[in-house]
Amino acid sequence: MTAAASPVRAEVAVVRPASPNGSAITSATRFVIAPDEQSFTGHYPGLPLFPGVCVVECAHRSSLATMPGAGAMRLAAVKTARFRTPVFPGDELTVQIDWSTEPAGWMCDAGIRNGRGEVARAALRYRNGPAAEPPVRSAPWPHTPPAASTRITPAEIQRLMPHRYPMLLVDQVTAIVPGDRIVAVKAISYTDIWYGRPPVDATAEQLAFPTVLLVESWLQAAGLLTTWDRPNPDPLAGEVMLLGGLTNIRFHHPVLPGDVVEHRVRLLRAHTDAMVFEGESLVGDTVTMTVERVSMALRPPESVIALAAVASAA
């Protein structure tokens, strides 16, 4: 392991390094999403879907591989991401990046397509230097929910949600007000599957928990808030939870083995098949991530199965 840990096994192939294109700077890459990607096992059994955060990871890895100029650039924020349609095993993804300069860094505007059209857009902000985003103080947590009366373990979590090993990224729910807010935790360990077998001299940077998996872990806490009153352990028998959009997710501090991450999620608004959330993640008193807005949708499995059939026929 020489690079940072990543939830995406596929290698990035640089199609075009960053180069002037008219008045813009652009680059391009491609990935082949093989059926043996680790995430497919648990996301979801019987209905493998490439997690939306892994699509963002492809954009991120493309950025790192084709960053214009030199310097250690860190992912500071997902400014926006929009997910249009799911990615399936075997899909080939092409990532087209428009670069623009930012104070002390770069903005990557990525369009991600498979053979059937655009699957997502993601705008990622990078900063030069050791810290990603400036530290923030935790906003006062209004109306701290009462602690869960019993310990909510992975077994209960899997009765509520379809996510399975290794993509089950919530260890415990510690507090909840159904329909309103939730607190859930994820402990990070050196033996976590996502690190593989790290070399004994792995640096802190190499052992930073993959940023997009912290986002996924937070999203699963949000998912639990949704499924608490409406268990959805099998997407084929219930509904498929799909990521709609991410807006202004900022990374303030890396998360390392030994950290216990606490996710705080508030439901801002819900409709029958759609939800919007906000919140943050902390390690102790340190805010590691702030989430301005996330939207998720519940879709009938038939519609997703139909898309999967088109994908596998291609």
Partner: protein
């Protein structure tokens, strides 16, 4: 996200705010262009528009208000009502 004082409902700012949420250029958000039919807005984006309007303008939108969020002109009229500003 900063909120704006209730006295300043600016249609151009509203246009930019909505354009950002639904991921199009502000110029595409014509006063009468329908979000769903003309601009491809889905139910998820519509919900996000409601959340952003509530935060930015510090108003409360009821479920019944959402069916009035069909184009910029209708959003502007609704927000003007919510903010207690009559016809100029």
């Amino acid at each position: 996200m900063s909120s704006v004082p209730a006295t300043a409902l600016d249609k151009e700012e509203l246009r930019r705010t909505i354009a950002e949420v639904i991921d199009v250029e502000p110029a595409e958000v014509g006063d009468e262009r329908r979000f769903v039919e003309d601009l491809g807005v889905d139910s998820l984006m519509a919900l996000e528009v409601a959340v952003v309007l509530e935060k930015r303008y510090r108003v409360k939108l009821r479920q019944a208000d959402l069916k009035h969020l069909l184009c910029l002109r209708m959003v502007f009229d609704l927000m003007r009502d919510k903010l207690g500003q009559g016809q100029p």
